[in-house]
């Protein structure tokens, strides 16, 4: 076999074993470091939580390609290799923003890999995750093969000294695919196994991929140091050991005929400005989007602040490690020369050439480090992606229900092995071909295809899932077509005509001159087509299409990760039937293990006793718990798988995520989403409004109850609802209902007790909500409920004026957990409205009853009053009758008594006057006696009649302003004869013109006649009688109105007078003071009494002043007729 073939076979010579042993110990050393780091982490004193370590882990970017390949590159294309490291330097500038954002997002969402990142951003799309995973694997596989190759060949180089002389013989002849030894004899195979082992040991010790692999990070950091040191060592050796320093080497090259052109670029197609540019672009993307870079930079990041240091530390590292590339390369050229295929190994061969054994071993270790780092990290992260994005979804689709937590970790380890073996496979098949050498850039070109999706995902909310899929598909396909196909051709798999004439002769499908684009180098051409189609497809499809809800939400989550938000949980959804916490724990344990599941829940509830906490949680808290559970599972299986799992699990429990009546929820969605939401909310608010209106518009409680129940049934699709009210007999009865079976209604009346829910609600006044009717502990109710087919129900107390009067119930036969918290709020309000309505109605009722009672009372009183008035009327009538009788009697009396007297006196007078003939003196005297007596009798009769009239109140007096003088004159005229008869002297004293008085002329006459008659009677012959009439001006005697003015009329005589003791009795009836005086003086005795009455009827008074034997003065007062102003009316 050829030398080349030989180099790969396991050979158990001492050197082989030594180097193998050193390699393994080195790896063990790394493992020890890893182990130690993990221990430190467990103790809380993390070794890795350090920006320098962080930066060093990022240096995993420098694989064996850096270690060996760069040197080889220099001999080929001069300084072009440096673009691979300048790009990242530029990118480092932007890390402060992009990287920080990616890290923040990934931490918050428990992102496990780059595929997970993309999948999560675009709505937790598992298809996208799978796509990225496949691309990644295809893209990275050759890269791994490259590492294996370099380890293998350097190993051989070190262990087969016979190969060393004439290193030129190690010409790389592009070979056909390698066929030869069985794999189990190949060094590379065992290297792969060893690497897989360490990969598993470093990266798959526990399941949660979102947890840090501190051990692995420490190991990577260590290997970064080692490789730097190793390279530096060789560099120093070559630069200052073999030559005189940089200047020396450079000037030598500058003066070298052939090699001097390596000092410039753009000297060939391979190092054109175009390719320079392209490579910079590619490396700028690669430092972030290569799976291993993403993993170390984002997933393994301990703190965001480390970015600040890493920003310059990594470029510094890159600078340092590449510092000696040029010297070594040029030195090698000067020393060894040879084709560039062996230039790769100058790092080894130069020391070897100068018998620097330890240095060469160090160099080898350095190269081994570089390669190991790349392989381990890549395989771990790719295995995670494989597991989470390809295998898990597959398992879920196939509904595998085994306890996965055990299997997952093993599957992960298996994945690592698989990935590495794939790399090995690639290596074995492709062999030494052209491809391998250039694999690095080809992988870079694959990695950059994720850039649009990621950068768009970070900054453009409108980037949709379909856009990402479209972009990635286009990019990847173009990449494959323009890079892999030609590589297959170069490797001899496909006919060369494809590249010259195009496939099937179609020139425009030529993979390296697609659509006739010439003048581009290989990489630029591919980059152009793949990236531009990628970007355009991404943009176009995103803009044309629309996002679904979860996509939108994730977009916001990602793009706005730095924006402060109060509540990222959209509340309008809920889990209708939330599982018990113990069940949740079990489900979680299946994926992440019991211990982790328990810890997650403990952390969530902040207590280890959380089993009963579920009942106290509201919808929002449940959502948070669900999200937390999903997150924790995502750590193990990736976010898209976790989402599927959680959704499926919930569905299996018979619950769905559903929209509920979010009446008072925050309008936290963007305007695009809220159209429908707004309508829903308007509908819900209108429900409340309608209910209030119903309550307000009707006083009939039955109507209000029915209206509200109808409302519940219509708007909320509630199956049964009822209103129970407490009757006077203490029983709670259904007064109105919808949807209940009659037997239920019949059996439903009962006294409120704690044994059933309506009773409990009534007695405690608390809202009762049972979301699963099977899980209640009141046996009475359970039977009733399940008999009806009720799955969930709510009861709310109906209050009226702080007193509970009934219960409003609603139930659902369709679902458990039908009623959301927000609905229950509404329900409570409706119950309150009902309470108000019923209370008001009852009040009105009371009022009406009260009114009725009042009416009855009033009617009774009215009847009583009417009876009374009838009585009164009767009495009145009787009185009137009596009165009439009285009047009739008096009239009769008056007439009957007077008539005969008329005749008696008249005829007697006739005879006296001699009208019937002459009579003698004797006869005249007798007749005069008769006349006198008759006259007296008539006077008496008159007096009696008068008095009777006065007593009966029948004496009429018409008071009017009259002239007193007139009456006086008339009266005096008639009395003069009497004065003359007794020869009494009468004198009249009065003022000139007396004012009018209020009086009755007839009665006044009577008064005057009476008084004057008395004066005449009781005064002797030739006596003096005077009458004075004047307006009284002094102090009014008592009994008169001091406001008025009076006429004082005094009749004075000098007759016999009145004894003092008799003055009092004077005005009494039938008083004549002296029994004998009546014979002497005549008189009825009624006169003064009548006079007094008459004066009083004039509203005046009468006084007497008398001395016995000297005479008497009778004074009476008459009110003057006064003008309205109080002036006295003057009589003209």
């Amino acid at each position: 076999m050829s030398l080349r073939e030989r180099e790969r076979i396991i050979d158990f010579n001492p050197r082989y074993l030594l180097i193998a042993g050193i390699s393994v110990s080195y790896l063990l050393f790394l493992f020890a470091v890893a182990y130690y780091a993990d221990l430190r982490k467990l103790r809380g004193k993390s070794l890795v939580d350090n920006p320098y370590i962080y930066a060093l882990t990022l240096a995993v970017y420098c694989s064996s390609w850096t270690f060996y390949g760069s040197v080889g590159e220099v001999t080929n294309t001069g300084f072009k290799f440096i673009t691979i490291y300048i790009g990242p330097t530029l990118t480092a500038f932007a890390w402060g923003f992009i990287l920080r954002k990616m890290i923040r997002i990934s931490k918050e969402n428990h992102i496990t890999s780059i595929a997970d990142f993309i999948s999560s951003r675009y709505g937790k799309c598992s298809y996208l995750g799978a796509l990225v995973t496949i691309f990644a694997i295809i893209g990275i596989m050759p890269y791994i093969a490259l590492q294996l190759k370099s380890i293998s060949s350097t190993f051989e180089l070190l262990t087969h000294p016979e190969l060393r002389p004439g290193l030129q013989t190690l010409a790389a002849i592009p070979d056909a695919s390698y066929q030869g030894h069985p794999f189990y004899l190949e060094t590379a195979f065992y290297i792969s196994l060893v690497l897989a082992l360490f990969g598993a040991l470093f990266g798959a010790r526990h399941l949660d991929a979102s947890e840090k692999h501190e051990g692995m990070a420490a190991a990577i950091a260590t290997e970064s140091i080692i490789k730097l040191i190793a390279f530096f060592a060789v560099g120093l050796f070559v630069t200052y050991g073999l030559f005189g320093g940089f200047k020396d080497i450079l000037s030598r090259i500058a003066h070298h005929e052939i090699y001097r052109e390596l000092l410039l670029i753009n000297t060939s197609a391979a190092n054109s400005y175009q390719s320079w540019f392209t490579t910079i672009i590619l490396s700028m993307a690669a430092i972030m989007f290569l799976p291993r870079q993403f993993h170390m930079a984002v997933i393994e990041n301990q703190r965001e602040e480390h970015i600040n240091k890493a920003m310059y530390l990594l470029p510094l590292y890159l600078f340092l490690i590449n510092l000696f590339v040029i010297p070594i390369a040029f030195g090698g050229l000067l020393e060894i020369g040879g084709p560039s295929s062996i230039a790769d190994n100058y790092v080894l061969t130069l020391p070897l050439l100068h018998s620097q054994q330890s240095l060469s071993v160090l160099a080898f270790i350095g190269g081994l480090s570089a390669a190991t780092g790349m392989v381990v990290v890549s395989s771990v992260t790719l295995s995670t992606m494989l597991l989470n994005n390809l295998i898990m979804p597959l398992l879920l689709i196939l509904k595998v229900k085994a306890d996965l937590s055990f299997w997952l970790i093993h599957l992960k380890r298996l994945g690592i092995l698989l990935i590495i073996l794939l790399g090995y496979l690639f290596f074995r098949i492709i062999g030494d071909s052209y491809m391998l050498v250039n694999m690095g850039l080809i992988s870079f070109s694959a990695a950059i295809q994720t850039a649009p999706a990621i950068i768009g995902g970070l900054y453009w909310k409108k980037g949709t899932r379909h856009g990402a899929i479209a972009g990635l598909t286009f990019g990847f396909n173009f990449w494959f077509y323009t890079m892999m196909i030609p590589s297959f051709v170069y490797s001899g798999w496909l006919p060369g005509s494809i590249l010259t004439k195009g496939p099937l002769g179609l020139w425009w499908l030529n993979p390296i001159e697609l659509f006739g684009l010439t003048g581009f180098d290989f990489y630029s051409h591919s980059l152009f087509w793949s990236l531009s189609s990628n970007i355009m497809a991404y943009l176009a499809v995103s803009l044309i299409g629309s996002q679904d809800e979860i996509g939108r939400r994730q977009a916001e989550r990602f793009v706005d990760v730095f924006k402060p938000t109060i509540d990222r949980f959209v509340q309008e959804k809920r889990y209708a039937n939330f599982p018990a916490l113990s069940e949740l724990e079990k489900m979680m344990a299946r994926f992440i293990g019991k211990r982790k599941a328990h810890t997650t829940l403990v952390n969530f509830f902040a207590t280890s006793d959380y089993t009963d906490k579920l009942a106290q949680m509201n919808d929002q808290q449940r959502m948070q718990l669900a999200a937390e559970v999903e997150k924790s599972i995502a750590g193990a299986v990736g976010s898209s798988a976790a989402r599927i799992i959680c959704d499926t699990y919930m569905k299996a429990l018979g619950s769905e995520m559903e929209n509920v009546f979010d009446i008072f929820g925050k309008i936290s969605l963007s305007l695009e989403a809220s159209q429908e939401e707004l309508q829903q909310r308007i509908k819900e608010l209108s429900v409340l409004y309608e209910a209030s209106r119903m309550v307000a518009s009707s006083l009939d409680p039955k109507q209000v109850m029915n209206d509200i129940l109808d409302l519940l049934v219509d708007k909320f699709r509630i199956d049964n609802c009822s209103v129970r009210l407490l009757d006077r007999d203490g029983m709670l009865r259904i007064k109105a209902q919808r949807g209940l079976r009659p037997e239920f209604v019949k059996n439903s009346e009962r006294q409120p007790s704690m044994e059933c829910y309506s009773g409990e609600c009534f007695l405690t006044g608390k809202v009762i909500h049972v979301s699963d009717a099977e899980k209640i502990d009141k046996p009475v109710s359970t039977n009733l409920m399940t008999g009806q087919g009720i799955k969930s129900f709510v009861q709310a107390p109906i209050f009226s004026e702080k007193e509970i009067i009934g219960v409003l119930s609603a139930s659902s036969m369709k679902e458990k957990g039908y009623f959301s918290d927000k609905f229950i709020e509404l329900f409570k309000t409706l119950a309150q409205q009902l309470g108000v309505a019923i209370g008001t109605a009852r009040l009105y009722d009371q009022l009406a009853r009260f009114n009725k009672q009042l009416e009855i009372k009033v009617a009774e009183r009215t009847i009583a009053l009417e009876l009374k008035s009838i009585e009164l009327g009767q009495a009145n009538t009787e009185l009137k009758e009596l009165d009439r009788l009285k009047s009739e009697f008096l009239a009769n009396m008056s007439h009957e008594l007077r008539t005969p007297m008329n005749s008696i006196i008249g005829y007697t007078q006739l005879l006296i006057d001699g009208i019937d003939g002459p009579i003698n003196e004797e006869q005249k005297k007798s007749l005069e006696t008769v006349e006198r007596n008759a006259t007296n009798l008539l006077a008496l009769i008159n007096d009696i009649l008068d008095l009777s009239k006065i007593e009966a109140g029948k004496m009429t007096i018409s008071l009017a302003p009259i002239s007193f003088e007139t009456v006086l004159d008339e009266t005096l005229t008639t009395l003069f004869p009497l004065f003359e008869h007794k020869q009494q002297h009468f004198s009249l004293k009065k003022e000139e013109s007396l004012p009018e008085v209020i009086g009755d002329p007839e009665k006044l006459r009577q008064i005057l006649i009476n008084l004057l008659n008395n004066a005449i009677k009781f005064t002797d012959t030739a006596g003096e009688i005077s009458l004075t009439a004047e307006v009284f001006r002094g102090a009014l005697p008592p009994g008169l109105d001091p406001e008025k003015h009076y006429l004082a009329v005094a009749v004075k005589d000098n007759g016999i007078g009145i004894k003092t003791e008799d003055l009092e009795r004077l005005f009494g009836e039938f008083i004549q003071l002296d029994a004998s005086s009546s014979r002497k003086y005549g008189g009825t005795g009624l006169g003064l009494s009548i006079t007094k009455r008459l004066v009083e009827m004039h509203h005046g008074i009468i006084q007497v002043d008398s001395r016995y034997g000297e005479g008497s003065t009778f004074t009476f007062f008459l009110p003057l007729a006064e003008e309205e102003e109080g002036e006295m009316k003057k009589v003209s």
Binding site: S887, L890, A891, S894, H895, R898, T899, M901, N902, S903, I905, G906, Y907, Q909, L910, D913, I915, D916, L938, K954, T956
Partner: protein
């Protein structure tokens, strides 16, 4: 008094004693007096005679004095004829009633035989002027 013009007085009084008294008293004073006992007679008599004054007792049987007065007053000839009512002054408003019925004056019973003729003369004199 003029012999050729002795005033004619019609007296309507149902009480015989009273009527004869009035006739005697007035007769002695040179009046022509005719007496009737009730209203109907009076009205009938008035067809043939034309008194200068009528003395009407209010308390008449059958048609009372007021009514008689009213009826007399209806006849054009006797519209201005002085009618003096004789009232017993018993009831309320007797005087007013008589005046309202159409009487010119009233005298209360019992009649003062001595003054009564002068009252008649005064009324007649007043009426003539």
């Amino acid at each position: 008094m003029d012999e050729k013009n002795r005033p004619l007085i019609l007296v309507i009084e149902d009480n015989d004693d009273n009527r004869r008294l009035v006739i005697k008293v007035l007769g002695s004073r040179d009046y022509e007096v005719v007496g009737v006992t009730d209203g109907r007679q009076a009205l009938a008599r008035l067809d043939s005679i034309r008194p200068d004054l009528i003395l009407m007792d209010i308390n008449l049987p059958d048609m009372d004095g007021y009514e008689v007065t009213r009826q007399i007053r209806r006849q054009k000839d006797f519209a201005q004829l002085p009618i003096v009512a004789l009232t017993a002054h018993a009831m309320v408003g007797d005087e007013e009633k008589s005046l309202a019925a159409g009487c010119n004056a009233y005298i209360t019973k019992p009649i003062n035989v001595r003054t009564f003729p002068q009252t008649i003369a005064a009324i007649l004199k007043e009426h003539r002027s």
